[in-house]
Structure formats: C-alpha cells, structure tokens
Symmetry: C2
Subunit: 320 residues, 2 copies
C-alpha cells in the first residue's frame, strides 16, 4: 500500500489539519510568518497527525477536538526538529536548508519555542486535562532524554539498552502521546488505549531504527540530507552498536565516536553498511513491527486498524 | 519596605514554592539535575511566584493549586532566561556564568525546552483549562515578540511604540499571566481579575524600564552583569530612545545600533547616562507605578494589596 491508500480513512481530515497548519503559519509578525510557512508547510509525511487521527477512528471521532490535536502533535514535532537541527548542526531538513541555516540560530531557537507554545495552546482547546497533561509532558521526556544521551559515556556493553531508551524518549514518546491523545479524545476504553500506546511505542522504535539505517544506506538526494550524519555527530545508533558487538577489536568506531575523528566517517559508514549490521537492524525493526501488529489485534477490526498496521509496514520499507 | 516585609503575607508559602523547585531539580538524569540546581535554586528575587501568590490572597487561597502554579510561573521565566542568554550571548546571570557558558549552548537549549515543558505540566495540575491555556500561550507571546523585535528596523519615529510593545510581550506578559492565573484560581470576580491584570501589565512595564535603566547606571558587581549589554547587542531600550529623541543629530546611536560598532558602546553609555534620559525614564516608570497602584484600588483592602503596591515601589527603587 502506498501512503495515500494508507491514509484513505482520514484523507479529508488530514486536509483539515493541513489547513489548520496553514492558518497557524499566517501571522501578523512577517518574520515569524515566513519562518512558519517554511518550517510547517509542504514538509514531511504527516505520520504523527495521521497516527493521531487513525487512533481516534475506533470510537467517537470528533473533528472539533481531533483536528487541533493532530495539528498540535505536528507542531510539537516540528519544534523539536527546528531545535535538533541547531544542536546537530544539520545542514538540511526535508531536502532544503535547515531553518537555522536560513534565519540564524537565534531566530530558529525562538521559532522552536513559539512552536512548542502554539502546540500547547492548541492542545488545551480539547479541554481534556489528561490529554493536555500528556501533551505538555512530552517535550520534557524528549529534551530530558537528549540530555541523558549527551551525558552517556562510550560503553559498548550498555550501548544497546541506552539506544532503546534514547529512541524511546526522542521518537516513540511522541508517537505514544499522539496515539494516547487521539484515542482518549475518542472515548476509547482504557484497555484499548493501552493497546494503541503499545502499538505506537513499537511503531516509534521501528520508525527510528529505519531512520538510523537510512543514515547509512540512504540515497542522499532521496533522503534530503547527507549519509553518515549520525557518526559525524558522534551518535552511536543501532547499526554502529551491532557492528561494534560483532567487531569489538576494530578501533575505528572508538576513533569516530569518542575521538571524533571525522575524517574516518566515510570509512566507518562503508564498513558498517557492508557488514551484516544493517540486515540485523532491519530484522529488529521487523520484530517491533510484529509487536505493533500484535497490539492492534486488541482493537476492533476496521479500515483504520488496517491503516495503522500498513503504516508501520510502509515505514519499514521506506527509503526516505 | 524591604522585600521580606513585602513578601510577609505569603512568606511561608514562598518556602513551599522553593521546596517545589528543589524537588524539580532532583532528577534521575545527573546532567539535568546539575543544570536544574544551578539554574533554579538560590537565584533571583522570586518576584513572579510572589506576584502569583499575592494575587490569589483576596479570595479562596488554595495552596494545592497555587504552589504548583507559582512554581510553574518561575520555571517558565527561568526557561526564557536560559534561552535569552544563549541568544544575547550574555556572560553572566544572577552574578554567575550563564547556563550555556557552563554546559554549552546545546545543553542549555535542551534545558530551556525541559523547563518549558515541566512548567506546562505543572500548570496542568491545576486542572483549570482557562489557566492552562493562558499559561501555554505565554511563551508564544514572548518568543513571537522577540522575533518581531528582531525584524524591526531602526526607525527613531516609531521606536517608543515598538519598545512598549516589545517589553509588554517579553516582560509584562508573564506578570499578567501570573496575576491572572493566581486570581482565577482563587475564584476572584472577573472585574477584579481584570484589575489585577491591569496592575500586572503596568508593574511589568515599570519593572522592565528599571531593568533597562540599570543597564546604563547599575553597578556591575551588584547587578551581576556588565553595563551597556543592551547597546552591545544592538537593543534600543527606553534610555537610548529618549536620548535619540532629544539628540536626533547625534550619529553615535546609529553607529552603535545599526552599524554595530561595539567600540563606541562605552561612549554611548556615558552620554546617555549623563543626559536627562535616565531621569525621564524613571519618571515614566513612576507613571506606570501610579497606574498599577490605581488598579489595585478596585481590590479589597488587605495586607496582600499593600504588598502588591509596595512590590512595584520596591522594584522602582531597586539597584539590581
């Protein structure tokens, strides 16, 4: 299934989310408006808004609550990307210069703050305090997780656990919040909210593992960013961790990650890409897909359930 | 009245807020915990938490709601300071190195994000959607206002209006939110909520004008930061605007603000300091004090009202 087919049950509603993002981008501060248009419109696959809407499709599907909620989730996500790009010194995002490369780090920092606040304000329009609280907590987990990761020392033995904790905080956490908020707003029974959260957690982990694989095997023009970015930034993602577990004597990874010798990045990328590590990562991502699928079995059978399942499969097979 | 006397009606409750901030600083992520302790504890005068509590003293004073609310207000404020210091390249804050100077810009950026989220999460514990919404919107006004200011061109004619809009967004906005949230949580009648908001708006403007005066006339060791910081950053605050209105032919300000000739900052500071601009600014701050006082007349007479009035007077006379 392609993305259009997967999104079919919420296709018209995603257009409303898109229109909401368009409204938000129109602002009486010209600089802010320009930045918002650039950062918000015509970017990305809208996976998180789709997840929010699809998670709500099982019970009372109230667009007055769900459209702002889905838009809020996307705003929060984009806010974190804007700040991440500053932190990671990333040149490009979605195939165009990162916000801070165009408007400078100071304005990008303020744009991120604005997006967090705009997102929170939108989430409060649901007037559901559980949803609002979960929403406001999410950035705490994301930023706290990044600080934990920043202070983690190179330790191959604990690297895999650290990695799962890290990607759970930075990626799965937002997926889980989207699924929880969507389902809670639809009046979903609690056991099924839990099933959707479990689905979203495994979806998020699979999503990030594929993202981390693409940083080794992706095509730069399709990907919209250079390969090897993670190694360049000293980030130890799953392909590197698995390579290192299979090749504990190879000093290359230590030199790249700890000594930050960037000249060795191309060699490390090639070695990891051509090792069995990538296939192992894909296998692990497929296992998370299996768990996500299993969680969906607890939900009523309907188009949305099929789409949620297909969405993970799509993500596993994506090349950008 | 000194600050202890002014804070007397809420003295014990401010200790609870302090304890709450201490709890928040204890975190299972060591790096985050260190940064939180540094940024949150033993810093500042806690004007905003005091304002929150004092604004609630007229009606139903429920500490279960007000202590988290007051702590949330302080967290949001400190989050903005952490980000501001990165943006302004400020060396010191509260007499010690700025957070980003100690832990680097990336960690400081994440700490700010964490603080915003922690603040929002704390505000949601009130379960009052009006309060939560006002709270979440505040950072939107602050960051949007900074982006507006960043894109404002040098234009002496409109400078004073721009300045009031700017300090209203960056400073008064948080004071107004504190007063509104405090009073709403106490079940204050709407006309008195409005009076307290009006008070806080004028208080906030006076507060910022005094802050901007101190950047010219303050003592560096008392102030905990170098004088002339605003001019160094190209920021046109009220003393500069008034000086320029009285000396439209002096090219010095244009050279400092537009051409960013930092070598001329000490000369510009001296000229502005020794002109009548500072006294004029003080007079304007006193006018805002007068308006703030006038708004308080609409509230029941009690110790808290006396303290709110004395707090503005204290701020007007402060030297740090």
């Amino acid at each position: 299934m392609n993305l259009d087919e997967i999104y079919a049950p919420v296709k018209e509603d995603l257009k409303l989310v898109e229109a909401k993002l368009g409204d938000i981008a129109r602002n009486d501060i010209p600089l802010l408006s320009q930045m918002l248009e650039y950062a918000l419109l015509n970017v990305g696959k809208r996976v998180r808004p789709a997840l929010t809407l699809l998670s709500s499709k099982f019970y009372n599907y109230d667009l007055d609550l769900l459209v702002p909620m889905a838009a809020a989730v996307e705003l929060l996500h984009i806010g974190t990307l804007v700040h991440d790009d500053i932190i990671d010194n990333s040149a490009t995002r979605h195939g165009k210069p990162a916000v801070y490369r165009t408007w400078g780090s100071n304005s990008a920092l303020l744009l991120g703050d604005y997006l967090f606040s705009r997102a929170g304000s939108l989430a409060t329009t649901t007037e559901n305090t559980r949803v609002i609280r979960r929403f406001t907590e999410t950035l705490m987990i994301i930023s706290g997780g990044e600080l934990r990761e920043a202070s983690t020392h190179f330790e191959p033995g604990g690297a895999r656990d650290n990695y799962y904790k890290w990607i759970s905080d930075k990626t799965a956490c937002l997926f889980v919040m989207a699924a929880e908020c969507g389902s809670v707003l639809s009046g979903c029974p609690e056991d099924q909210v839990l099933a959707l959260k479990d689905y979203a957690q495994n979806f998020g982990l699979a999503f990030q593992i594929i993202d981390d694989i693409l940083d080794f095997v992706g095509d730069e023009s399709t990907l919209g960013k250079p390969v090897g970015s993670d190694l360049s930034e000293g980030a130890m993602t799953l392909p590197t961790i698995i390579y290192l577990q299979h090749n504990p004597e190879d000093p290359l990874i230590y030199k790249v990650i700890v000594e930050r010798d960037k000249s060795l990045v191309p060699e490390a990328v090639a070695k990891i890409r051509d090792s069995g590590a990538i296939d192992e990562c894909k296998e692990i991502a497929r296992e998370f897909y299996g768990k996500a699928s299993g969680s969906l079995d607890k939900l009523p059978d309907c188009d949305a359930r099929g789409s949620l399942n297909a969405l993970v499969a799509y993500v596993i097979e994506r090349n950008k």
